[in-house]
């Protein structure tokens, strides 16, 4: 069991922000941390890792990491951290990056094999692609068999096809190593695929906490299909209105009534949903 109860004053984009989080996480859980930027997600991860100071308490498996009197140093916490910008050791080869964390060559080679990096073990990080760097960063985080694996938007800089592949690998490693994982992510499909629980942070407070299915599937009423997107364009064609909406990586056109069109303006976040039809998958 991981018990977190922390407070910290943050300097946000719009004045000061009070991070005030109370969270219990079961061992082995895969928790996704979501929310707008500047809501304190990264800071929360950094506080758990001991990289940033905070008031309050953190207890992991009956061991206190943070309380009123002491704060365990990052060196003594058992944390694997995957930074958004990889933060690999540029002076070491792929294999050396792993062995620097723990002198366990068997584990290092197994991790490289699981992430298909075996061939690249003698290369230096600067010569790797973004996806390869991210996989290496993940391997490095797992080298010390951490109690908690923290992933700070690990896949946000990668293109969709590599993302999908890496999501599968993250899930595989999470299960294989039995770690408790906390991942910051904005991508609903990623959260749905990986996480067993989602926590949504806003202005430093938890505003939603639940299963991805409950939180992400937007079922108001009896709609069968529902997507959120951004309204890009609204145009009048003869007597109807046509809205152009970006949903994920796709652009769609939707017909609106005059009344609907008058309620929205360009740039709005909208939900588009429909019911009673037979979808075809191809």
């Amino acid at each position: 069991m991981i018990d977190i109860k922390i407070q910290k004053e943050l300097l946000g984009a719009s004045g000061t922000l009070k991070l005030d989080v109370e969270l219990q996480i079961k061992e082995g859980e895969f928790l996704a941390l979501s929310g707008t930027s500047g809501s304190g997600k990264t800071t929360l991860l950094r506080i758990i890792a001991g990289l940033e100071k905070a008031e309050g308490e953190i207890e992991v498996a009956q061991k206190s990491w943070l309380n009123a009197k002491t704060a365990l140093s990052p060196q003594k916490r058992s944390i694997g951290f995957v930074f958004q910008e990889y933060a690999l050791f540029d002076n070491m080869t792929v294999l050396q990056n792993l062995l620097f964390v723990a002198k366990d060559k068997t584990l290092a080679l197994r991790l490289l094999e699981l992430t298909e990096l075996t061939e690249l073990q003698k290369r230096y990080p600067k010569t790797l692609s973004g996806g390869q760097k991210q996989r290496l960063s993940l391997c490095r985080a797992l080298m010390q068999k951490p109690k908690i694996l923290l992933l700070d938007e690990p896949l946000s800089a990668l293109d969709p096809s590599i993302r999908a592949k890496l999501q599968t690998q993250i899930l595989k490693l999470h299960k294989e190593f039995g770690t408790t994982t906390i991942m910051v992510s904005h991508d609903p499909s990623e959260i749905y695929k990986l996480a067993s629980r989602v926590v949504v942070l806003e202005n430093g407070k938890i505003i939603k906490d639940g299963k991805p299915k409950e939180l992400l599937l937007k079922q108001n009423g009896s709609q069968k299909f529902s997507f959120s997107g951004e309204l890009l364009e609204l145009k009048k064609v003869d007597i109807i209105y046509v809205a152009v909406i970006a949903i994920g990586q796709q652009i769609v056109e939707v017909v609106l009534s005059k009344e609907e069109a008058s309620r929205h303006k360009i740039g709005d976040s909208v939900t588009i949903s429909t019911k009673a039809f037979t979808p075809t998958l191809s």
């Binding site: 890792a49 990052p74 930074f83 910008e85 933060a87 050791f89 540029d90 964390v101 600067k126």
Partner: protein, 222 residues
């Protein structure tokens, strides 16, 4: 004939070694701290760059002479005089060349990705291990610049050396002082040879630094 050069190199080598030990923790501290004291320490460290060597030499003389508490202590306890000998040159050079060691190291450390250092801490490594195994290997150009420029700068110093060390052959008469004396005694032939050697060597040293840095940057795709 080349004794002044040997003396200059000996002085510069010892100064570089001592300064590296002093400047490494200082530069690391300055690069990592958020303390309000930082600008004060930085300003103090940079003073030797702007001060006339005579000011520095004067204060060092005052501080080390046998009339000062420090000088008197060394004289009484160890029977060592701290002025007009090689030891005084080393002390003076360490003050004079300090910024040339601290500043490249500090800016090197500051340019490092902070998360790289944090990754090292999370891997269970303390600050000392992190400095030697992660920070220094990743700032090789800055490290080389610090060492070479400190060496070259110490070889090139003149004013402080003359004030604190005088010109005792084999003890404090380094190359720059020797050239000054040659010119004074109108021994232009020797002065030409010495000066040419200084120019040539300094150029080769600087050239090697810039070549190394260019190669290093190319290798790491910077």
């Amino acid at each position: 004939m080349f004794e002044p050069f040997l003396l200059s190199f000996k002085l510069a080598s010892i100064t570089v070694a001592i300064l590296f030990i002093i400047a490494l923790p200082l530069a690391w501290y300055l690069s990592q701290t958020r303390s309000k004291l930082k600008p004060f320490i930085e300003a103090l460290t940079a003073l030797p760059i702007v001060l006339p060597p005579s000011v520095l030499g004067f204060y060092i003389l005052v501080a080390l002479s046998q009339n000062s508490p420090l000088g008197a202590f060394f004289k009484d306890t160890f029977d060592i005089s701290l002025v007009f000998n090689f030891t005084s040159l080393v002390i003076a050079s360490c003050f004079y060349s300090l910024p040339f060691m601290v500043q490249p190291l500090q800016s090197g450390f500051e340019s490092l990705n902070k998360q790289m250092l944090e990754a090292s801490y999370l891997a269970g490594k303390n600050q000392i291990k992190t400095i030697f195994l992660v920070a220094l290997p990743n700032i090789k150009p800055a490290l080389l610049t610090a060492l070479i420029i400190t060496f070259a700068h110490t070889v090139g110093e003149f004013g402080v050396v003359l004030m604190v060390g005088g010109s005792i052959p084999g003890e404090t008469k380094v190359a720059s002082v020797a050239i000054y004396e040659m010119v004074e005694t109108m021994d232009y032939a020797s002065a030409h040879i010495y000066s040419a050697i200084m120019v040539g060597m300094s150029f080769v040293v600087l050239l090697s630094v810039y070549t190394f840095n260019a190669k290093h940057n190319k290798k790491f795709g910077l």
